[in-house]
Assembly symmetry: C2
Homo-oligomer: 349 residues x 2
Amino acid sequence: MNLKELSHKLGLSQTTVSRALNGYPEVSDTTRQRVVDAASRYNYQPNTRAKSLATGRSLAIGHVIPVSTKHEMVNPIFADFIAGAGEVYAQSGYDLMLSVVADADQDQYYRDLATRGTVDGVIVHGPKVSDSRVALLNDVGLPFVVHGRTAMSESDYNWLDVNNRGAFLRATSFLLDLGHRNIALINGVEDMDFARRRREGYEAALQERGLSIRTDLIAHDEMTETYGYATARRMLAASDCPSAFVVSSVIPAIGVRRAIEEQGLSLGRDVSLVAHDDELSYFRNDAEVPIFTAVRSSVREAGKICAEMLLNVIDDPQSPPKHRLLEADLMVGRSTGPAPALRQSLEQG
Amino acid sequence: MNLKELSHKLGLSQTTVSRALNGYPEVSDTTRQRVVDAASRYNYQPNTRAKSLATGRSLAIGHVIPVSTKHEMVNPIFADFIAGAGEVYAQSGYDLMLSVVADADQDQYYRDLATRGTVDGVIVHGPKVSDSRVALLNDVGLPFVVHGRTAMSESDYNWLDVNNRGAFLRATSFLLDLGHRNIALINGVEDMDFARRRREGYEAALQERGLSIRTDLIAHDEMTETYGYATARRMLAASDCPSAFVVSSVIPAIGVRRAIEEQGLSLGRDVSLVAHDDELSYFRNDAEVPIFTAVRSSVREAGKICAEMLLNVIDDPQSPPKHRLLEADLMVGRSTGPAPALRQSLEQG
DNA sequence: GGCAGAATTGAAAGCGCTTTGGAAGACTTT
DNA sequence: AAAGTCTTCCAAAGCGCTTTCAATTCTGCC
C-alpha cells in the first residue's frame, strides 16, 4: 500500500493524505480522521526512502564503532550504549545505522557517510587523545556528538563524557586513605582519550600525597579479562608488588580477581581493587554490597543523553556546541579494605 | 556534487554517467575512464536514498535485537555477532540498520520494517521455542535468516544454529565420565529455543546413564554474572549439592566461579564447570589451558555466515531455504576434574 | 445576495537516481 | 550506394513521497 493507492481509495489527493498524516494544519478534522483511520486499517506506512529523498533528511543516525585491528575486539560497552541511544531514536522515529569499521579506515568512512547522505548525524565512539574525526566532521558539516572528548579541543563540538580524571583521582585517593601505597593502574589502550584522563587522575592522587609514580605499576591495553589476569599476575609476582589495583573496567577486573585468588590471596583483604563500572547489563555490580568497589556511571544512560543531544543539534544546527560531563559515583563494595600493614596494626591495636 | 552536476561537467548525459559508474556494457572504454576519473576527482558518491528509491532496493540489512523488558538486558553476544556480520555487509556495500526493540513489540516492528521498505532483509535474533516472527516474515515476504531455530518448524526458512543439544550432551557426558553424578544446569531463559535444546542435551546425557533429572539442579534466567553467582550459591548451600555445573555462557560461569570460591572450594578440584563459550572478544577463554572447560563456537563467525546467507537469499529470493548447523568443540580447560569421591579413591589407590 | 477572507483541497514540480526506448553515427555487408 | 548491424549516447519516465502554488468551497458579515 502506497500513498497513491491510499489516496485513491479515499478519493482524495496525495497532497491531502500526506498532509493529514503528517499533522499539517490545513486539513479539516473530519478528513484527517478519515485518513488516519484508513491508514491504520490498510496498515499504510510511508516508504522511508521516498520520504527522505523528498525531505532531504534521512531520519537515520550513524554509529561508527571502531574495531581494533589488533584483536578484532569490539568494546562490550557498545551494546548497552546503543540500547540507550536506540530507545531515544525509536521514540523520535529515527533509525540507527551501525557500522563496524577498522581503526585505519575511520576517516574515509565518515567522509563517505557525509557525501552519500545516508545519515543526518553521527555519534563518534572511542575518541583518541588526538583524533582527526572531530575536525573532519566539522569540516564536512555533518552534525555529530562525541561520546568522550579529545585532548586537542573541547569547545567547538558537542560531547558527553564521564569525569574520568575526577573518578580515578577519587578511586586512587580512596585506596591511599586505606593505607595503600603501591597501587597499580590497569588501564585501557594508551592513545584513547579516556585512558589518558584516567591516568592523569591516578597520577594526580599519588602526587597530592607526594608519592612517586611507578611506571612498572601502570599497564595499558585492550580491556579484556585475559589482559587483567595476565597483568595482575605479573605484577603480583614481582618484588615490591602492589597491594591495590585501580582497573578501567569490570571486565579486566574479573581477570585481576582471578589472578589474586590464584595466588591464594583474598580480594578485599590482602589485595584491594577499585574498578570503573559502566553498569553493563549482564554484569551488574549492584548488590547491596557490590562485588567490586567502583566508580560507577551508566553507559546506557550516556547513550540516551548522547542521542538526545544529537537530535537537538540536527533540529537546530546553528546552536552552539553543548557539553555534558557526568560524574561517577564511588560505591564501596567488597573488593577494598585497609592495606595489609595498616590492617595488622589495626588488629593488634 | 550530484549526478546532474557531474554529467554537466563532463558534457555527458546523466544516463551515460550512471551507466559508466555502474559498470553497464554500453559505454565505451574511453568515456568510462573519463567518467570514473572525474567521479573520483570530485569525490562524487551517489546519494543512497535516491539510488534505493530508483532501484527499489535499500542496500540495508536490519538487525532487530530484542531487549528483555524485565531487566533491560542486552545480550552481550550481539556486539561480536554484529561485528562479524558487519564485515560482510561492508564488503558488499550494504548498510546495517540496528534496532533495539522490546520483546513485546517485536512482531509489529518486523511488520513495519517490511512495509516501510527500509531494509532488504533481516536477521532474526533470539528465537523463542515458539516464535511468531518466522511465520510473519514468510508471510510478508521479507528475506530473513534466523540466528538459531524455533521448535515449530525447521524446513521452511533459513537458519544458522549451533548444535546446542549435541554440545550440552557432550558437556554433560564429559562430566559424567569424570564421575560426577549431581550436575547442575545453569541455563538461559526458559522460552528461548537455544535454552530448550541445551536442556534436552543435558537431560539426554543423564538419561543415557539411567540417572534421574533433579529439577532443583536446573535453573533458567537471563545470563548475567549475578544470576550465575546467586544460583550456584543457593545450590551449593543445599544438602546433596552438585559437584559440577554446566553453564550456558561464560558470563554466568564467572558468577558460578565466584560462588564456588567464596565457599572456600576450588574450581576444577572440588567443583567442576563446563561452560558454553561464544568466543566473546573481551573474554577470550583461549589460553593454552583455557580457564573454563567449554563447548566453544564463535559467535562472530556465526554473524559472518548469517550475513552471507542473507545476502544470497536477497540475490536469489527463489532459492530453497538453507540451513547450517555448526558443531561446538569441547575444549578441556582448568575448570574440570574428577568428582571428589572418585578423586579420593584415585588418590588412595 | 454578494463579497472578502479563511478554510480546504488538488495539480504538478521536484528530490537524485536508474532504466526504457530510441536515435545518431560508425561500420559492415550486399 | 543502399541496407543492415553495432556501438554509443541521450531524453524522458518513473521510484514514492513532500511541498509550492493555485483553485475551490465555506464562512461570516454588510
